[in-house]
Subunit: 424 residues, 2 copies
């Protein structure tokens, strides 16, 4: 079938009337190449279909929620069985206890759990808990790190007041000296340090956490009586079957989880050690659907597959196959790729591509050949991404490299991106 | 079957180990009578079953989300059909456009919609939009009103900093003078006024909004160039098939919706007029599951039933039957009830019951007879609450009045509530 986007364009026109800018948030295609579909009709395993019926191997996995494959049967069966009994009721079901027990069993530092809906809920509850526990104000966060879209952390300033971020202090990720300086400048007032398991920012190479940095963060928190908070919303269970920093021997006091913990069903969580329990007991946080049973039943089943299945090895194998294949292809076509981060959560950028025009052209050519890549955000693979899928994808990306090579002289940058990276 | 709570107590013991205080948020039974079950196994129509198998006529409707009846087939069928295709995907489905079009069609002041998950998301986006639109700081909110559980609005101070509420200014609900004074004291800096459609606070009689107050709020906003925000999360579509203030001829600029708009499926929304569109276009708000298709398909179907069905008349008829029946029963047993608010969202309190011991005893006796009432929160009825259900409930409440009359001399207040209302 030839790629087309008639229906998508019709829907975009309708959307522009009743949705600000036609779409909001991280799933807006406003900063993606024009050809990227805004609307999808179906997803299964590793595949995604847009409203025009174009099929893609989906390298985004819903920006994280899809871990075991879209429509993974055992999880869907557990969800459907619970939904038939009851979802949002006048109180929680037994599954809230089972899900809390499962997380506490899997995550070394976890003694308790609170469930919520958004990743932002989880990171916000974590910092509020740290403040309640320590009776201090300052939260140290890495410059440029994404921890959600509430006023204290949203990356865009519109509608946000200075007071919303008044007690957020910034350090440089992987720079222990900058963290120490932030502690020193706020002595006696540091409630907590928040960090992602590794550096995963848009438009940037990813970077692993340095063991020394993580260990220093733990020591500085211990010395000051502050809480170490790990923001696992994006990376959680994609690097390990428990805390992402367990391999470093560094235990946080609190961690925020979300996205994939129920394989796409809407739920997020904060877990904490007993060192943070009093704080957690003292705060009031809630939401209309936070006690709903269906996502919890899905979560219990998802966590069982995380513990017992080979999803992690499968995503790593798929990611490695793609990385190696792309490296060879790029070289053969005369390009240099910068592939950074864990192979199963990669960022793929082009060398010598300051306004991203090469990357944008390449993902567009791949898109039209049935592969949904992202030009500025880290990608995610699921357990349904087979080596055969990656071979199919690589055939498309090879053609995409060839097409970009031909068009190279006439490429233009995406206007929004060009403005972002224009010299001031 | 005799009422029992063995399984519930076992689960509570397990929960206390892995969940702070054993439960968090508005569905914690920590402030309810000891006999109130914390965990439920099933819900259908107007009925709810706890984990011990006790069946209740549920007068809470999941604290609002259940509007058409638990497990209402047409909505569940729409949700299941969408879930089989895809829920959380790499972009939204066509249903996000259909749902936005439906809300814009039903709510007079709405020109656009943004979807989110929590009621707190919706109220927070509304105030951030008002600030972005006006480039001002102050939000005027009614003292004691509940607008969610984020730091700017949560009713409990633990973990919250003065800066979180630095630009929230309080007025008295239904007191136009206090609102005018708040405008005057913050001249040139008022971004918006937020108000619920009527007064619905815990432990208090409800009160209808006064037409004069609503009209003054609109005039003051117009004069100052501020945004009027209606928080419809709890009351929306329970008073009318559109904006709750349409009958007053008062149009807000922004309104926040949630709970029942997808009959229990997790979704909330902000809608606004074109006067607030630029603000909405400029902010960055998002969430992992905000674009998921299943709750949107459920929402489209729910809104269709709201427009075309008789749910509103049914909930009003059921509420009226209960109110009239209780009034007669109370008088016959020598009690005076204070039944306030719309009959379909009532608050039921006892006269001469300063520490709520009468109310707590009465709802406990009713609970053991199969009726789940609430002693300090407004209740909600669904379209599945038939007149027969209310007759059944009234038989139980009659016996409950008789039982309380007998035990009246030996009642004690709930310890948490006693502390709340103790003279300082």
């Amino acid at each position: 079938m030839t790629w087309s986007n008639t229906k998508n364009e019709e829907l975009k026109a309708r959307a522009h009337k009743v949705i600000p800018r036609g779409m909001f948030g991280h799933q807006s295609t406003g900063m993606l190449p024009d050809e990227y579909p805004q609307f999808f009709s179906r997803a299964r395993g590793s595949r995604l279909w847009d409203v025009d019926g174009n099929e893609y191997i989906d390298m985004m996995c819903a920006y994280g929620p899809n871990l075991l494959g879209y429509g993974f049967e055992p999880v869907e069966a557990a969800a459907a069985a619970q939904a038939a009994l009851g979802d949002a009721m006048t109180g929680p079901s037994q599954s809230i206890v089972e899900l809390a027990e499962a997380l506490v069993g899997m995550i070394d530092h976890a003694d308790w759990a609170i469930f919520c809906k958004n990743g932002t809920d989880a990171t916000t509850i974590a910092i509020v808990t740290a403040r309640a526990q320590t009776r201090r104000r300052k939260i140290l966060a890495a410059t440029g790190a994404y921890h959600g879209a509430a006023p204290w952390c949203t990356p865009r300033p519109a509608g946000v007041l200075p007071e919303d971020k008044a007690h957020i202090v910034y350090y440089q990720y992987n720079d222990a000296d900058s963290l120490e300086a932030a502690f020193k400048a706020n002595e006696g007032d540091v409630a907590g340090v928040i960090a992602t398991p590794f550096l995963h920012e848009t438009f940037k190479d990813e970077a692993d956490v340095e063991r020394e940095f993580a260990a220093t963060a733990r020591q500085l928190c211990d010395k000051a009586g502050a809480m170490l908070i790990l923001d696992e919303v994006r990376a959680g269970f994609r690097l390990a079957r428990g805390s992402s920093w367990a391999r470093l021997g560094v235990q946080p006091d609190l961690s925020a989880w979300g996205k994939c913990i129920a394989n796409g069903h809407p739920i997020s969580a904060v877990v904490g050690s007993d060192a943070a329990r009093k704080g957690a007991e003292s705060i009031f946080v809630t939401g209309s659907f936070w006690f709903a049973a269906t996502p919890m039943a899905a979560g219990v089943e998802t966590l069982r597959h995380i513990r017992e299945g080979d999803y992690l090895e499968r995503t790593i194998a798929a990611g490695r196959r793609l990385r190696e294949g792309l490296q060879q292809q790029a070289a053969a076509h005369g390009f240099t790729l910068r592939q950074s981060g864990p192979v199963q959560m990669p960022m793929i950028l082009f060398e010598d591509d300051p306004d991203f025009r090469l990357g944008y052209a390449w993902v567009t050519e791949a898109l039209k050949r049935g592969v949904y890549l992202h030009p500025y955000h880290n990608m995610f693979f699921s357990a349904a991404h087979s080596l055969e899928d990656m071979a199919t994808a690589l055939a498309a990306t090879d053609d995409a490299f060839a097409a970009v090579k031909q068009r190279k002289g006439s490429l233009e940058p995406h206007p929004v991106v060009a403005r972002m990276f224009a010299p001031h």
